[in-house]
């Protein structure tokens, strides 16, 4: 018989091109490799930062020196040489950075356009404001004026330090303190840029906000810092997207995201992460070691994390919510996909401190190829959290028989009225299902993406419309060649 074998079909389906894998050639302002107090001073000086921020960085650095990388995650990689990384690289531009899009290097604009994130006026995504971060700096933020009319501040982190130092100083590090963990400390010492969002009291942000992160330069780490504050009764929906060129070396991405919601505020934070995952033999790819945490500081506040993680060689990330305010609500919706040799150790922490706090965890892990996918969840109900409720659902889908899925749920309950529910399922896309679909004329690829999309539906419906479609496509591409 000369019919192609099913493993060929599945193999072809999982192999794919990483469309965002190109490199942009630009003149850059790059600090030499390595990390020291001098490098931190240099970064801070480049950005014209006030002394208090430099001191904050240096303190974080000194603390970092006393720490060691965490070892508990179910991921394996050779030790990272932190002296072999470039900590600051920025496209060269006119002294003070571009004031308007006309001053942005056209090569940069083309890069973002190619990535599907047009920054110029006419082609902008309708109703979505974008902050574009390229290596260590923000190159453009759109719709600033329109947002300003509502009192919304949406700008790069560097700009916030200059224009709104009192807000930055008040909130920076209050959710993720510099000494929180190894990568958070490193980020606090060397962070270069990121986004800053402030929604004043009572304001519903009139459009979706988004940041697009792009790593371009070789040997460069990206350490961005995002801070989002929603005052009393304010609400905002924010989305981040990420890509990087295909390179044979691993590159480090260690971000910190802090969210603060005051009374009755709502923050919805969505991520579509598509960093370069490395090739099918596991060469290259981004190490994505990220600390994301939201603080429901006010009563009845609501923080919701939604993530679609398809990229990166290694993902280490646990977007969490501290439910401090009474009756506050935390959600975590996640799709994490690993293919080839990708490893993901991801999950969430819900820390119930206020009374009648509620949280929901919905995790969908998909493993294909030789991918490894771990869900790690912590639900903690402290002694004062009367009437706390959590519902956790954790589903794994395996494609083929060389991949792995693990779940590590931890539940710590210190109040008798707490109500915690956990459900978990594991299923495998079986040869019988594929044959059934193929017997109906449906290709194996289409059958897999049908099953995968069905599996992820509950999470996708949490994403803003435009991005749900993107995410669906991304999963299709990321799974190409996985049927086997």
């Amino acid at each position: 018989m000369n019919a192609p074998t099913r493993s060929d079909a599945i193999g072809a389906f999982l192999e794919q091109d990483y469309a965002a894998g190109f490199v942009t050639t630009l003149e850059t302002d790059t600090v030499p490799k390595g990390l020291s107090e001098d490098v931190i001073r240099l970064i801070s000086a480049r950005k014209g930062e006030p002394d208090w921020l430099l001191d904050w960085r240096l303190e974080a650095y000194r603390h970092w020196l006393t720490m060691t990388p965490p070892k508990w995650a179910a991921v394996q990689f050779p030790p990272v040489d932190f002296q072999d990384i470039v900590y600051y690289s920025a496209p060269k531009s006119k002294k003070d950075g571009p004031k308007s899009l006309d001053e942005v290097d056209p090569e940069l604009l083309r890069t973002f356009e190619k990535l599907g994130v047009p920054l110029h006026e006419r082609a902008r995504l309708a109703g979505v404001a974008v902050d574009a971060v390229f290596d260590s700096v923000s190159v453009a933020t759109t719709f600033k004026k329109e947002l300003g009319e509502h009192g919304v501040i949406f700008c790069s982190f560097s700009e916030a330090v200059k224009e709104h130092p009192e807000l930055v100083r008040q909130y920076l590090g209050t959710v993720v303190p510099p000494e929180d963990n190894f990568y958070a400390a490193l980020n606090s010492a060397v962070f270069s840029d990121g986004s800053f969002v402030f929604i004043p009291k009572g304001v519903k942000c009139p459009m979706e906000l988004s940041t697009y992160f792009r790593i371009n330069a070789r040997d460069t780490g990206q350490f961005e810092r995002t801070l989002i504050i929603a005052e009393e009764g304010a609400s905002v929906s924010y989305l981040e997207g990420c890509t990087a060129p295909m390179r044979d070396e691993n590159q480090l991405h260690a971000a910190v995201v802090e969210l603060i919601a005051l009374d009755d505020a709502k923050i919805k934070y969505s991520t579509v992460q598509n960093w370069y995952p490395g090739d099918k033999d596991g060469k290259g790819g981004i190490y994505n070691f990220v600390t994301k945490r939201g603080d429901c500081r006010g009563a009845r506040s609501h923080i919701s994390w939604t993530q679609v993680e398809t990229g990166s060689a290694i993902t280490w990330k646990y977007p969490s919510v501290i439910l401090r305010g009474d009756s506050s609500v935390g959600d975590f919706h996640s799709v994490a996909l690993t293919n080839n040799l990708q490893q993901a150790d991801t999950g969430t922490k819900m820390i119930h401190m206020g009374r009648n706090t509620r949280s929901t965890i919905l995790s969908k892990g998909i493993s294909a190829g030789r991918g490894s996918n771990t869900f790690r969840g912590l639900v903690k109900v402290t002694p004062k959290a009367e009437g706390a409720r959590n519902y956790t659902q954790c589903d794994s889908l395996l494609i083929g028989d060389r991949c792995a899925a693990h779940t590590f749920p931890t539940i710590e309950v210190r109040h008798p009225t707490a109500h915690v529910e956990h459900e978990a399922t594991t299923s495998r896309i079986g040869e019988d299902q594929l044959f059934y679909a193929m017997q109906r004329g449906i290709s194996a690829e289409d059958a897999v993406s049908m099953i995968v999309n069905g599996f992820c539906r509950e999470v996708f419906k949490e994403l803003p419309m435009e991005f749900a479609v993107e995410a669906q496509k991304l999963l299709g591409v990321s799974l190409e060649g996985s049927v086997g």
């Binding site: 019919a3 192609p4 074998t5 299902q433 044959f435 017997q439 049908m450």
Partner: protein, 261 residues
């Protein structure tokens, strides 16, 4: 015209089909009967292109094409349909979505315009009515939690929608109540036409009261050991399979079809 010649197939190194010969002309309906484990479902799945079975010898010619050279989905698109003995559940995928994808895959292959959601719904609802399925089955996951009989009706629904050129029904009558049996039989009879052939695998001659076959075959130990007309089914019902092996010694395509032992 389907011509199966000396077909041998194995799974996990175990021979199941051992030199099977069968010809089905256009427009004919053939029934295949035979004891449990004799290889009926294996034949059905090998025809449909399931790769867990290895064809070790023989050939299958289907209107001049080498059927065994085509991957499963191409056989389906070219008009081969298998109603599964055990229809497979696909959680998370709605029946409507699955059926539409299947119908459109086949239509694309035939150079017909794809159905949009409206056209498709109109068509599928009409067919569901004919097989006595409630609309809610459109919105449930494919076969998930369907009762045995509901799964079988869903198979007949798919057959009606895909309008195959060659349909293989593997025990579609098993587990059906008498009303459902009539509905399934009507579904099959409606599809009968001069250019459409069918192979109906069954254990019960009762089905053949409703679907009157042109020929009846007995499959035993991987071979067709007896062929005849309808009356062969009646004999089997009366005497079981025991007499066949002794009377015919396993010789394929017995000359005196329908002869009493």
């Amino acid at each position: 015209m389907l011509k199966i010649n000396n077909l041998h197939a194995a799974i996990d190194g175990k021979d199941i089909l051992k030199g099977l010969n069968l010809e089905v002309a256009d427009g004919e309906v053939h029934a295949i009967m035979g004891p449990n484990g004799s290889g009926k479902s294996t034949l059905a799945q090998v025809l449909a292109g399931r790769e867990t079975f290895t064809v070790t010898d023989g050939s299958v010619d289907w209107d001049g094409t080498d059927l065994l050279a085509l991957p499963a989905e191409e056989r389906a698109r070219a008009g081969l349909f298998l109603a599964f003995q055990y229809p497979v559940e696909i959680p998370g995928v709605s029946n409507a979505y699955f059926l539409k994808a299947a119908v459109n895959a086949v239509r694309r292959h035939r150079g017909l315009p794809e159905f949009d959601a409206m056209d498709f719904l109109a068509k599928v609802k009409a067919e569901m009515k004919a097989v006595g399925m409630k609309e809610e089955f459109l919105y449930r996951s494919v076969n998930e939690g369907f009762s045995g009989g509901e799964k079988k009706r869903n198979e007949v629904l798919q057959m009606a929608l895909l309008e195959p050129r060659l349909a293989v029904l593997d025990e579609t009558d098993s587990g059906l109540d008498i009303d459902a049996l009539k509905i399934v039989a009507e579904g099959v009879n409606r599809l009968r036409s001069p250019e459409r052939s069918m192979i109906v695998i069954t254990h019960y001659q009762r089905l053949l009261d409703y679907i009157v076959p042109d020929k009846v075959h007995v499959l035993s130990q991987g071979r067709i050991v007896r062929s005849g007309g309808r009356e062969l089914a009646l004999e089997l019902e009366e005497h079981g399979y025991g007499w066949i092996d002794t009377a015919q010694g396993g010789k394929a395509g017995g000359a005196s079809a329908g002869a009493r032992p």
